[in-house]
């Protein structure tokens, strides 16, 4: 059976599974629709959170980022996991104790203000739509690469599937499909990684393998890799080119952004008890860490494989560069997709792959007759080509396709659901039509989910020009608006609604303004080591936190506002569990 047929079958089966789950877990009440009836087991919630969290970018692009950035990529590894400690210790248990349905619910009740609630809804919608646009694009790209269909066809199919289980099943449907999607994606990620580790080092566990000796006697893997890449003018894999301050602030901003993303926060509303919220944050990080600790190994192994395939002997020895005619099969496959590109600049029929942006090395290379780097590598290839490089059977390749689609769909669905809940619950039910019936609210939820899917699809068809960056933008916005409003709402008795509203709005406006202002710079938001950039690293969360003016309550204990607020805080910090 051909690879394409097999891929169709595997992806089709995974879709059948998701749709089956959708029918099985149809939402019957608003509680089902918003928070899966609060019946989700902490382990299942951990898996669902992990799938919700790990997007197409984590699955497809991260190992490639690590392969080419080395130590500098630690900002993503630490930033996207460290936020879970903040979530578990500072937010999740209190959100669950509060016990209602949504994040704006929490903000509206804590600050006893519909205005604060509406501002939170605006922040949530801006954050989620920026994020979801990137995901829908990801769905289309995976489809077009593996099934060689048009991006828009892939997008339409993906939308159809999400439409079915998000509109029908609400949070309940999403939760259980995410559990299935996690299983698909983690299997698809770890199996090729383990085989490659085994082939290169004889150790099957990737986390240990990339510190081990390589089998052909070249010494420790990381030392070998450092030597090979520095010989070609690149920065050593284990040391970075960013400044310490840069790394520090970017990591911090990503951690805080992670802890402020509404589609992650809402997952902690779905478990039965407060203690389950704490535990499920732990399980979520466990399931995420399985992929995140594997990724650096995949990155290092792939970088070594790629470099050693092309540079087969000592640098500048004429026969040490791979002849283009002798390139391996996977090289040819990925050349066809345009992810690998060779251009014989010096016309010697051999591939010279080196860092021509390193001036010192470029001069030496010039003297040896090299006329510039001849190989362009798209970083996404690292994960996508892995099974082929490891010579794994076709069904594993098909599974990687299903895994990439699962990663994109699960994140998109989670985001779409928080958007629809914010509209039907926080705008319609809580502000504009308070006496709407349960059935009508559920219908409103379904309709807004459907509209959100269509809008997201539109954004996928007509991406706002800078897909990679919009995800980073979502983090900045979350860090600057929702995170401080929730955290200070829990920790401080003194923050009031004026402070919260001013803080959220200024965080949102400042971050967006910053991005518009530095549009050119923002393309690689955390790449260049300039003061502007590390100002960005700190400012999203910095400005948000600082802007919450700590007004003392001027009406202490005197009116209903303060009374309500005191009761609320007592509930939050008490031993009693919420509803």
């Amino acid at each position: 059976m051909g690879l394409k047929t097999l891929t169709y079958i595997v992806v089709g089966l995974s879709f059948a599974l998701y749709i089956g789950i959708a029918f099985w877990s149809k939402a019957r009440t608003t509680g089902d629709f918003y928070v899966a009836g609060k019946h989700v087991h902490p382990v299942a919630n951990g898996m669902a959170t992990a799938a919700d969290w790990m997007s197409a970018a984590s699955f497809i692009s991260m190992a490639g980022l690590i392969a080419f950035l080395g130590y500098d990529s630690s900002v993503y590894l630490m930033g996207w996991t460290g936020g879970y400690v903040l979530l578990a210790l500072l937010l999740a248990p209190y959100l669950r104790r509060f016990g209602k349905f949504t994040v704006p619910d929490f903000i509206g009740e804590r600050y006893y203000s519909d205005a604060a609630r509406v501002v939170a809804v605006i922040c949530l919608i801006v954050i989620s739509f920026t994020y979801v646009a990137g995901q829908m694009r990801g769905v289309g790209i995976v489809f077009s690469r593996f099934l060689s269909v048009d991006i828009s066809v892939g997008l339409a199919v993906g939308m159809g599937v999400v439409f079915l289980y998000a509109v029908l099943g609400g949070m309940k449907g999403i939760t259980y499909t995410q559990v299935a999607q996690y299983c698909v994606l983690i299997f698809a990620y770890t199996v090729p990684a383990a085989f490659i580790s085994l082939q290169v080092t004889g150790v099957a566990l990737p986390q240990a393998a990339f510190g081990s000796e390589v089998l052909d006697g070249g010494g420790r893997l990381l030392e070998t890799l450092d030597r090979i890449v520095t010989d070609l003018g690149f920065t050593a894999f284990t040391s970075g080119s960013k400044s310490t301050a840069d790394i520090f602030f970017i990591t911090l901003a990503l951690m805080i952004g992670t802890a402020g993303l509404p589609h992650v926060l809402v997952r902690f509303f779905t478990v039965p008890r407060v203690r389950d919220a704490r535990a499920s944050a732990g399980y979520a990080l466990l399931f995420i860490a399985i992929l995140y600790t594997t990724a650096p190994a995949v990155g290092a192994l792939a970088r070594l494989n790629l470099t050693a395939t092309i540079q087969t002997g000592p640098v500048f020895e004429e026969t040490a560069n791979l002849r283009y005619e002798d390139r391996p099969g996977w090289f040819r496959t990925w050349e066809e997709t345009g992810l690998l590109r060779f251009q014989d600049l010096n016309g010697d029929g051999r591939i010279q792959y080196y860092n021509d942006a390193n001036p010192e090395f470029a001069v030496r290379a010039e003297a040896e007759g090299w006329r510039g780097n001849e190989l362009t590598v798209d970083r996404d290839i690292i994960v996508l080509a892995n099974p082929e490089i490891a010579q794994l059977p076709n069904w594993v390749i098909a599974l990687v396709a299903a895994g990439g689609i699962a990663a994109a769909l699960s994140t998109a669905a989670g985001l779409l659901l928080v958007i629809s809940a914010a509209v039907s619950h926080d705008l319609i039910k809580s502000v504009f039509a308070r006496n709407i019936s349960e059935r009508a609210e559920l219908r409103a939820g379904r309709i807004s989910a459907a509209v959100a899917v269509l809008l997201a699809g539109y954004l996928g068809f007509n991406p706002p020009g800078f897909v990679a960056e919009v995800v980073a933008l979502a983090f900045g916005l979350a860090a600057a608006s929702l995170f401080p409003a929730i955290l200070l709402g829990i920790l401080s008795l003194r923050v009031n609604k004026q402070g919260a509203i001013a803080g959220m709005l200024s965080g949102l406006v400042f971050t967006m303004g910053y991005i518009v202002y530095f549009k050119g710079v923002f393309v690689a938001p955390f790449a260049a080591n300039t003061p502007e950039n590390w100002l960005f690293g700190i400012s999203p969360e910095g400005i948000g936190a600082l802007c919450l003016p700590r007004f003392r309550r001027s009406v202490e204990g005197r009116d209903a506002f303060a009374k309500r607020q005191d009761d609320f805080m007592r509930l939050l910090r008490s031993r009693d569990s919420g509803g």
């Binding site: 690590i66 130590y71 990529s73 630690s74 590894l77 630490m78 996991t81 460290g82 879970y84 400690v85 903040l86 578990a88 210790l89 500072l90 248990p93 986390q207 240990a208 990339f210 510190g211 081990s212 000796e213 420790r220 893997l221 990381l222 030392e223 284990t238 040391s239 310490t244 790394i247 520090f248 990591t251 911090l252 008890r273 407060v274 203690r275 704490r278 535990a279 944050a281 732990g282 990080l285 466990l286 860490a289 995140y292 600790t293 650096p296 910090r573 008490s574 031993r575 569990s577």
Partner: protein, 82 residues
Amino acid sequence: MSKLSYWGENLRLALILLAVWFAISFGCGVLLADFLNQFTLGGFKLGFWFAQQGSLYGFLALIFVYVALMNRIDRKHGVRED
């Protein structure tokens, strides 16, 4: 220990664990990474290992320690959720 309220104990535990959180990630993985890189652990430079592997294991351990200790604090204060 018993002097502290439920919320106080909650907060103290979170602060202690957050100090550790900061030390393993921002401390060992970032600020001290260059210094730690002179040592090796199982084939990894230590600073690099903390940044790409160690801090993640540390985060995991922290959350599960928090879960266990909070359950104990819950029991001590008679929190019933079942």
